[in-house]
Amino acid sequence: MSNILETSGLTVTFGGLNACDKVDLTVPKGKFVGLIGPNGAGKTTFIDAITGYVPTSAGSAIFNGEDIGELKPHERAQRGLVRTFQSLELFEDLSVKDNLLVAGYDTRWYSFLLDMIYMPRKDKEVEEQIEWALDIMGLNDVADAMPSDLSHGRRKLVGVARALAASPDLILLDEPAAGLDTAESQILGGHLREFLDHDMSVFLIDHDMGLVLSVCDYIYVLDFGKIIAQGTPQEIRESETVKKAYLGEEAGEIQAQAGERMTSLQHDQGGQDD
């Protein structure tokens, strides 16, 4: 059993449109796997599908040898499949450290009784994990601050730290580098590979080719919901299909820009015509 996550034929349909179309993808244990693709390719939908936030219409997802297709989001998280969100989604009313504590500790049915007499369970492993997560994301100095007092980039790092605090088997990072300034990107990028030393596998989504090519062991490329290419960073760099997908996008963008210029020109020239 060497694969931590294995999807086969995973399909997500939104009103007739296949946002993910028969995606076959594997994340080997202890490896760093990336998923890239242009905007709207279905990357986030794929994460939403395997974490249970959108229903799948076909296919299966096997996590640690267990079919997780029917599980609720929190059940998947409890089994060690933990994600971050592109759009922050922090607990705004809790301090940074409390954000991590929530994710770090699981509860038993009697936990609330212990809490009432202030005898909370202290788990050395969990505490260490949280310390490590704060440390690696450079959040030690703001552990007691509220998320709303931090910059957007640091809030993003809190999101990653919160996922790390849960000691996941597989961490799914949804565009963690988007919106980070240079210093913050370096903190993140410099430590991503270290995640692997803490008994976890990593699955990274991003459209920043540079980051993905530099940290991943293996890369999948998604376009219009379909896997169009896969391979090592070297292979992806040289793949014609990938170039075409990205080039195609670029070409489209150039056209769009040209079109915009034209419309604005028309607009400037004559309001009377309309």
Binding site: T51, Y53, K72, P73, H74, E75, A77, Q78, V82, R83, F85, S87, L88, E89, L90, F91, E92, D93, L94, D98, N99, L101, V102, A103, Y105, D106, T107, S111, F112, L114, D115, M116, I117, Y118, P120, R121, S148, R162, A163, A166
Partner: protein, 720 residues
């Protein structure tokens, strides 16, 4: 069968009232995104104004004289705030003031109320989180109900409405060949509801104002980009909503006592939800259907085969709740939840670190007071402590978990009655008691535990809808459950014993470990027994420490995580459903304990002790004190009507009416929601003293930066 059909048709009268009030609710919702729980009270106020003008010619303004009669104020000639205007001079009993001017003045008062609601309450709260808006509408409800009580005495009124709605017209006999008779007024009421609905429908469909309202309702940001001011639109809709409420109140004067309108809003909520808070025709239809269901249900309940533990009045009050639950269950995810342009923060809920010191201090203070005080003051002190004890239940469910349950005080009442039933031994408790208490003769402690369990189970049942719905919808369900619990359970004679429907005597000799701990002092014949105070202080301290500790531990962190973002909470491995049930369980257990402790204090309890306005008043004061902290509950307990603060003020500045206390509480509640975002008086010490009180006022602009992300969170969180 014919009997049943007749009953169905007879229900159309009440149904028309629901339809009219529901129409006004939808108007306010479309205009501002607020479900106004105080809508019925708005109708009630206008109805009282109309009635008072017609009987005495006096116009009562919607406030009361708050200026005390202190010497120096008198010398400055600051005597009083005008509260009434003499409008009509006429010979009483012989003639009546003219109808049309009376109606116009009443509508003018409705316009004033609508403007007040918009400008003083909901406009300042436009960016508040849902809790703040719900609290604002609870404030409106409580304020108007209190002012009605002070200004009009809340007595029954002989009707003075329009003749076409009079019930004493000759009834329609043999309607559609069914045999029975139907009040003729039902038809005019239905016609009035349909006309009103058609008017609003056309207004929204064919006028520029209506289109602007619909645009703002669907996309506030988009509408403001097109040059419509959402706040102007909201203001006009508030006035319209208030006028519709006033008209409904006046039209139904013959059928309903104006004091009942405030609670009749439940049926109107059902109607508005039936119309998905959007469609006026469906709202009118929904109101009529709910009215018919109530009529039909009561008719069925009159049959022999009907189980007599299901009280008739309970069936009547259950019908709107049933419709509300069904609509929310099947349509809940399709109901519009309006995202305002920016959403403010939830009240801060800091963990407290000096629990032991704080508790010892509070206990010591309470015990010293209890020894200093004699008689009346001891009873006042225990009133405050009881309120604090109950408020801890709201700290957990509303403060920590962010679930707005308005039914917790009914759970307290249910548990109190259950305790009496469990320990009842079929004997007369006091020589002058009217009823014996029958039951299963449990020892006091066992009865206490079983009643707490029963109350907790009821709380879990009420919490069930919270698994699917949230925010204001939950507030609507829980508010509707209050009446159903009261009529179906607490007042049920077969469930609770003979006295349940009127006055239920409490056990005269409650003893824990051989000690008499009842509040009734057998020597002074007052509720001032010192052992009760001691017992109550200990119980309250234990509960308080437990509640504060919850926040310090992982359970509280999880609750706050759910309050902030259910979607992310699930990603952090939190079982949101279980945690919500846990919150409802803990809160209901605390509420049950408070209810039982109240029953230990006084010689007899009534279902009215736990009525909706008492519960809302307690919510108001704990929100004023600070809903998220233990201190807040202590402060709230001191402020509550009949508690330390008002009684103390009463001694020094002359007695104040109970209604006034609640009205002051309602104003404080709204102010608190606006100024501190609900953090309350208790947090002022920690927050404001550090940065200066102005920091609190300045906080709002900062929030606009993060508003866009917050809005996304809010809408996404709501769609999970």
């Amino acid at each position: 069968m014919n009997q049943f059909l007749i009953a169905l048709i007879a229900g159309v009268g009440t149904g028309s009232l629901y339809a009219m009030l529901g129409t006004g609710l939808v108007v306010a919702f479309r205009g501002s995104g607020v479900i106004n729980l105080g809508h019925g009270a708005v109708a009630g106020y206008a109805a009282y104004v109309f009635n008072e003008l017609r009987t005495s010619g006096e116009l009562y303004l919607p406030w009361f004289d708050i200026i005390p009669e202190w010497g120096f104020l008198q010398t400055l000639r600051i005597n009083n705030l005008p509260t009434r205007i003499h409008v009509f001079d006429f010979e009483m009993y012989i003639e009546k003031p003219p109808l049309v001017p009376t109606l116009l003045i009443s509508i003018g008062v409705s316009v004033l109320l609508g403007l007040m609601m918009h400008l003083l309450v909901f406009r300042p709260l436009r960016n508040a989180p849902i809790l703040g808006k719900v609290i604002g509408s609870v404030g409106v409800l409580l304020y108007l109900d209190s002012v009605i009580a002070v200004n009009f005495g809340g007595q029954n009124r002989s009707s003075s409405g329009f003749w076409i709605f009079k019930p004493d017209m000759e009834p329609v006999s043999n309607f559609l060949g069914l045999g029975g008779t139907i009040p003729r007024a039902n038809f005019s009421m239905l016609a009035a509801a349909v006309v009103m609905g058609a008017f609003v429908f056309c207004l929204y469909r064919y006028t520029r104002f209506g289109i602007a309202t619909r645009a703002a309702d669907e996309n506030e940001k988009g509408a403001s980009l097109l040059g419509y001011s959402p706040q102007l639109i909201a203001g006009i809709n508030w006035v319209l909503s208030s006028v519709l409420a006033g008209l409904a109140g006046i039209i139904f004067l013959h059928k309903t006592q104006p004091s009942l309108y405030a609670t009749l809003v439940v049926g109107a909520l059902g109607a508005a939800l039936f119309g998905r808070l959007t469609s006026i025709p469906m709202t009118v239809l929904g109101g009529v259907i709910i009215g018919m269901m109530s009529g039909g249900g009561v008719s069925l309940a009159n049959n022999d085969w009907w189980p007599n533990w299901l009280e008739i009045e309970g069936v009547r009050t259950f019908m709107p709740l049933l419709v509300i639950i069904l609509v929310l269950y099947f349509q809940g995810d399709k109901l519009p939840i309006r995202g305002s342009i920016s959403v403010g923060r939830q009240p801060n809920a800091p963990a407290s670190n000096n629990v032991v010191v704080g508790t010892i201090f509070a206990m010591g203070f309470a015990l010293i007071l209890s020894n200093v005080f004699v008689s009346k003051w001891e009873a006042v002190l225990t009133t405050s402590i009881l309120a604090t004890l109950f408020m801890f239940s709201l700290t957990v469910i509303v403060g920590y978990l962010g679930q707005i349950s308005l039914a917790q005080f009914s759970i307290a009442g249910f548990a109190a009655f259950m305790m009496i039933r469990f320990v009842g031994d079929g004997t007369l408790q006091r020589p002058d008691d009217y009823y014996v208490i029958t039951g299963i003769n449990m020892p006091t402690i066992l009865g206490f535990v079983c009643a707490v369990v029963a109350g907790t189970l009821l709380g879990l049942l009420i919490g069930l809808p919270a698994l699917r719905i949230r925010g204001v919808q939950l507030a609507v369900v829980t508010m509707s459950s209050v009446l159903a619990i009261e009529e179906l359970l607490t007042k049920s004679r077969s469930l609770m014993g003979e006295g349940a429907a009127s006055i239920q005597p409490t056990p005269s000799n409650p003893s824990w470990f051989g000690q008499y701990i009842g509040g009734f002092n057998k020597e002074t014949f007052r509720t001032d027994y010192w052992k009760y105070s001691l017992f109550l202080v200990i119980i309250t301290a234990l509960v308080g420490v437990a509640v504060v500790n919850l926040r310090r531990g992982n359970t509280g962190r999880r609750f706050l995580a759910i309050r902030a973002n259910e979607r992310a909470a699930a990603a952090a491995g939190i079982n949101v459903k279980n945690a919500k049930m846990l919150g409802f369980g803990i809160s209901s257990a605390i509420a049950s304990i408070a209810g039982i402790m109240l029953a230990y204090k006084i010689p007899a309890v009534q279902a009215e002790n736990f009525a909706i306005f008492s519960g809302l008043g307690l919510l108001a004061f704990v929100y004023l004190g600070g809903i998220t902290t233990g201190y807040g509950a202590v402060v709230g307990g001191l402020l509550v009507a009949g508690g330390m603060m008002p009684e103390f003020l009463g001694v020094h500045f002359g007695d104040v009416e109970r209604g006034m206390i609640n009205a002051v509480g309602a104003v404080g509640l709204i102010l608190n929601a606006i100024v501190t975002g609900g953090e309350g008086v208790a947090l002022l010490q920690s927050d404001a003293l550090g940065k200066g009180p102005l920091a609190l006022l300045r906080r709002n602009p900062d929030e606009d930066e993060s508003s866009e992300a917050d809005e996304d969170n809010a809408t996404e969180g709501a769609s999970v």
